[in-house]
């Protein structure tokens, strides 16, 4: 093999390289290298001083060996010696070795720095450049410490050669990136900015990279660069294709510099100066116009350079997002590229359009290309292009085209590359949820998703469909019917079994009327899948079975038999065994009533951000899902979820005991906790130990995420209890008609409440959940009854563990005794240290006078007789107020029951009105109360009003109740 060698070729090196190339095996190569290393070592150690050429040759060989992937632990000193050579090539090899094999030996570094210093001050431009290259290549902090002060001076000095300026600019950039604290521009700032005006295009090209980086970090100091950049850009854009000589690249004037200028401008908002802005818009228009001109060359380099500028200009237009005309033009241009024969352009057009889709000005224009994009998804041969098409479809999706896009994505999914399936599944799930108008479509879509790509359907996705079915009663029947049909397939995915098991367990009764899906048929269908499933799915199915026993008593013997068989009750898996045993026992000993209570339908899930969206975001990395999208997701998710205040929130009992699989767990983002909701006092104590931090009412707590931290910044925290949070009244209002839920939540802490009342006594359980992974220390809580409350309420706090481990939850019991009627709520102060900083927070304890109500049933005659007895002005409180929520009779009833009074049917002659009666139990006295709520449901939504009247034997009570209740409807 003839050695090809140029310049001052080193024969010995060429021979060595040839030898290595001729080695037949890895062993032979290692042998040859070891031989060479031994040779070089002996030369370096030998008595005879080596001349510069030999030193250069051996250092070069070492470099070659290193680049082959072998370790080199000597030769540094010889390389450093080469640095002081006067021969350029020797110096060059020395620097190359030093920058490739960086060594941390401090003595060596001192010698290297010395050599660099000499070269920098040599005034020989080629030597200066070599030294600057070395600094940039090594780019270490030590280098920055030694030279960061010197380089700016070289950069702006009047007598510095252009080539040195170029190297100095980029060298400084490299040092700034590694050690920004050591590079102080200060006095040089304006002179550096003015390099944009330099006559030498090479200097401008190099300097602009530095200026862009500095502008990103210190936009204010460098903002004068905007007008300079605009005028430079304008000069380039308007120049003829040959004006710039060597800086014209395939008939495109200065493409690199143009791109850099456009990128620099993206560090800033649109120019405020009208003239500058006008000039810039002109530039952008010219660039868009040029894209329509016939090409000046057929070479791909010409079109690449031209389009590089075009894409950068479009990026700037999107960044400004303020010129509708330019945005639409950009979109049309990209539309043309979508069908270009160059794959690269199609790829970039799809990518760029994705960002255009999120601009309100161009969203509609992007949508017009839907057919082309769908076609790209179907026909592109390169998976990375198909991926971009899928991204764009996702970005351009809205209510108007959701059905089409979801259908296309689903059909693509059947043949999609494995690498992108999971992401596609998440996207389909999100779009289906976000834009669902009718929920049967949503259910169909998700079930299709499981059918087509079951393996890629993550837990979040099937949790979500269950969550939505549970929250929407209009879709439950359809969902039950559809899963029943889907389960008929001989081979169905395990995820389908999970969804099917869960939904039939909850809502199987809705389709049980049809003999084809009678309870036993449903059960047999589910059970036919049982043996094929994994342990977690079997566990879920067992829970579905026990729910069947409640829904369909006729299935009880069959199911008990299944539970009783050895494979269940003696299952080697502890969880399955426990469930089988417990469910069997529960079904045999519990009365129908208890069973119905324990196994009641799941309460609605709290409204929250879709966890699927969060998952996609995580998958794509930060920034992939725009804030906008998240916002929207939240909003739309809420609409769909529609949880909020629903009937049952206050009275429904959580579905079952802790061993019921909880699809909500992860969705709620609160670790493992079933959404056990309120429990009526009778069953309450049973549930205390299983009540955990998850619960309804998370949304309101989310609103004050930051409140806690900002109200108590560590530096100014005092040890005195903080004043109550501004929102604590609002938080209190949430608990007027219910006893359980999340009282408060921020980034650190979640407080759940569960309470029960009997007569004038109450017991409240507070659950403090540490949401962080760090322990809370000195965790203390106190309750105070300000003012006269002290004599009205007796509150006793049981001690709480002062240490709350990360992720753990502690419980605190509070006993409350109502001595006499009261108005204010006691204050709960919580203090703890988190990472050394004291957190101090005060909330209102959700205790209001209505908690001590005893319902009183009475006839119409009795009611109106008492009503009349309480006719003194001070005994009555009345409020007329606008409806805050829809006038749903069921919701209203649930709330009034939650209030604690008896809801009296057929008492008021007007069936639209509600009347209630109850007696407030205090230690000192009993206070009878009557309530009448009159809605004018006929009014237009938005103008609906209520008239609320309360009469009570004690005047303050009527007033207080009226205040509390007026916030509830």
């Amino acid at each position: 093999m003839p050695a090809v060698s140029k310049g001052d070729g080193m024969r010995g090196l060429a021979v060595f390289i040839s030898d290595i190339r001729n080695c037949k095996s890895k062993e032979a190569e290692i042998k040859r290298i070891n031989k060479e290393l031994a040779n070089i070592r002996s030369k370096f150690k030998g008595d005879k001083a080596l001349d510069g050429y030999s030193k250069k040759k051996y250092v070069c060989k070492l470099l070659f060996i290193f680049l082959l992937g072998h370790d080199i632990d000597f030769g540094h000193m010889e390389a450093v010696n080469l640095l002081s050579s006067n021969k350029y090539t020797e110096k060059q090899i020395g620097y190359l070795f030093i920058s490739v094999l960086v060594n941390s030996n401090s003595e060596l570094i001192r010698l290297i720095n010395n050599a660099i210093k000499n070269d920098l001050s040599s005034r020989n431009p080629t030597f200066m450049c070599l030294a600057l290259h070395c600094i940039a290549n090594v780019g270490s902090r030590e280098m920055a410490e030694a030279f960061a002060g010197e380089i700016p001076r070289i950069l702006v000095a009047g007598d510095t050669m252009d080539s040195v300026k170029q190297s100095a600019a980029l060298c400084l950039l490299r040092l700034y990136r590694t050690s920004p604290d050591l590079v102080l521009m200060g006095e040089w700032t304006s002179r550096v900015v003015h390099l944009l005006n330099d006559q030498h295009m090479g200097v401008v090209t190099a300097a602009i990279s530095l200026i862009t980086c500095l502008s990103q970090k210190n936009p204010e100091e460098f903002k004068t660069c905007v007008s300079l950049a605009v005028s430079r850009l304008s000069r380039i854009v308007s120049s003829a294709s040959t004006d710039l000589q060597d800086y014209t690249y395939y008939f495109v004037p200065a493409p690199w510099l143009s791109c850099k200028l456009l990128r620099l401008l993206q560090c800033y908002p649109p120019p405020e100066d009208g003239a500058v802005k006008g000039r810039l818009v002109e530039c952008l228009e010219t660039i868009l116009n040029k894209a329509q001109e016939p090409p000046k060359s057929k070479k791909v380099q010409h079109s690449n350079a031209k389009n590089a500028i075009l894409f950068e200009a479009i990026a700037l237009i999107i960044h400004y997002d303020s010129e509708p005309n330019l945005l639409v033009r950009a979109c049309n241009q990209l539309g043309q590229f979508l069908q270009h024969r160059e794959t690269n352009l199609r790829y970039l057009a799809l990518e760029s359009m994705c960002t255009l889709a999120s601009s309100e000005f161009s969203h509609e224009a992007v949508k017009t290309h839907i057919e082309t994009v769908i076609n790209a998804l179907k026909t592109e041969r390169d998976v990375s292009v198909r991926q971009r098409a899928a991204d764009l479809l996702y970005a351009m999706c809205d209510r108007s085209n959701a059905k089409q896009i979801v259908a296309e994505m689903l059909s693509y999914l059947e043949t999609a590359d494995y690498s992108i399936r999971e992401e596609m599944v998440l996207k389909v799930a999100i779009l289906a949820e976000k834009y669902a108008v009718d929920y049967s479509w949503y259910v169909d879509t998700i079930l299709n998703l499981i059918r087509i790509a079951g393996d890629y359907v993550s837990e979040e996705v099937w949790y979500r469909v269950i969550q939505i079915v549970i929250n929407r009663d209009d879709v439950q029947g359809y969902a039950a019917k559809t899963v029943f049909e889907a389960l008929q397939a001989p081979a169905c995915h395990e995820n389908m079994v999970k969804v099917g098991g869960y939904i039939l367990g909850e809502f199987g009764n809705l389709i049980a009327g049809d003999p084809r899906s009678s309870p036993l048929v449903q059960f047999n269908l589910l059970h036919s899948k049982f043996h094929l499933c994994s342990v977690p799915t079997r566990a879920l199915l067992l829970s579905a079975y026990i729910k069947f026993i409640n829904l369909f008593p006729e299935t009880k013997p069959t199911i008990q038999e299944v539970l009783r068989c050895d494979s269940q009750i003696r299952n080697s898996d502890v969880e399955l065994q426990q469930r089988a045993v417990e469910y069997l026992k529960l079904s045999s000993i519990a009365s129908t009533d208890v069973l119905a209570t324990v196994l009641e339908e799941m309460p609605p899930f709290p409204e929250r951000e879709s966890s699927i969206l969060a998952k996609l975001k995580k998958k794509k990395g930060p920034g992939a899902v725009s804030g906008n999208e998240l916002e929207e997701g939240k909003r739309e998710g809420g609409e769909l979820n529609g949880a909020g205040e629903r009937p049952g929130d206050s009275s429904a009992i959580g579905a079952s005991n802790a061993s019921t699989p909880s699809p909500s767990a992860d969705l709620l983002g609160l670790r493992s906790a079933a959404p056990v909701s309120a429990a009526p006092p009778s069953a309450g104590s049973l549930l205390v130990d299983v009540f955990s931090e998850a619960g309804p009412a998370a949304p309101a707590a989310g609103a004050n995420d930051d409140g806690f931290l900002s109200s108590a910044p560590p530096s100014v925290v005092s040890e005195d209890p903080a004043p109550p949070l501004p929102e604590s009244d609002e938080l209190l209002n949430k608990f007027v008609c219910k006893n359980n839920g999340v009282l408060f939540e921020n980034q650190l802490l979640q407080i759940g409440v569960k309470s029960e009342y009997r007569q004038n006594l109450g017991r409240m359980y507070l659950f403090y959940g540490n949401k962080t992974s760090v322990q809370f220390v000195n965790f203390t809580t106190t309750v105070s009854c300000p003012g006269e409350l002290q004599s009205q309420l007796n509150v006793q706090l049981k001690p709480v563990d002062p240490l709350v481990e990360g992720g753990a939850q502690v419980q605190q019991v509070i006993n409350i005794e109502c001595l006499t009627v009261f108005s204010d709520a006691p204050l709960l102060n919580i203090k703890f240290r988190y990472g050394g900083a004291l957190q101090n927070l005060t909330l209102k304890l959700p205790v209001a006078i209505n908690k001590f109500f005893q319902p009183t049933e009475m006839s119409s005659h009795d009611f109106f007789q008492r009503w009349k007895q309480l006719s003194q002005p001070q005994q009555e409180a009345q409020k007329i107020f606008k409806a805050n929520h829809a006038m749903d009779t069921e919701v209203l009833k649930a709330k009034l029951l939650g209030l604690g009074t008896a809801l009296l049917e057929k008492v008021d002659p007007n069936p639209d009105n509600f009347v209630c009666a109850g007696v407030i139990q205090t230690k000192a006295q009993q206070v009878g109360c009557l309530l009448r709520l009159e809605p004018n449901a006929q009014a237009q939504p938005g103008e609906q009003m209520y008239r609320l009247t309360l009469r009570s034997s004690k005047d303050t009570v009527a007033k207080r109740l009226c205040e509390l209740l007026a916030e509830q409807f």
Partner: protein
């Protein structure tokens, strides 16, 4: 940004890193990246997402030239960075081929250094870049040089 040149057989001929990276990670990344790029078929697009970077690559005869750039970098202009580098090699070696880069690896590094510094373009003018190299050594004519890669691409 990171540059690499590798052969079709997956031999790395030239590499340059512009961010501090541990030797072990470098080797791992090179291996992984080479696998991805060599698996690409002709006519596929020249860009791909890899980890949190964008890979821009182009094949010239037996060599693949790759750059790893950041999310916001311009793909097309990066493609032309590669082409300009190939042109510089071609101009310096006079019809460059893989062997030139193997036997004169140090020259290839010098040219790359003159063209790019810290991952940014120092000068886009061919004259500007080659001046520094050429003043240092005199070109010696070689008769036995295999076909140029640019010739093969029909670009010479």
């Amino acid at each position: 940004m990171k540059n690499g040149v590798c052969s079709r057989q997956g031999k790395l001929r030239l590499q340059k890193w512009y961010t501090a990276t541990a030797e072990r990670d470098k080797k791992k990344m090179v291996r992984e990246l080479m696998q991805v790029v060599l698996a690409r078929k002709p006519k596929m697009c020249s860009f791909l997402e890899w980890r949190d970077l964008k890979i821009v690559y182009k094949r010239y005869a037996s060599l693949y030239f790759c750059c790893a750039v950041e999310e916001q970098d311009n793909e097309l202009i990066t493609l032309e960075v590669i082409h300009r580098f190939v042109e510089l090699l071609d101009k310096y070696f006079g019809s460059v081929c893989e062997l030139d880069i193997i036997f004169n690896f140090e020259k290839a590094y010098f040219i790359l250094d003159e063209f790019l510094m810290g991952g940014e373009i120092q000068d886009t003018s061919k004259k500007g870049v080659l001046k520094a190299i050429e003043q240092a050594d005199l070109l010696q004519e070689e008769d036995e040089s295999p076909r140029s890669v640019l010739e093969e691409m029909g670009l010479a």
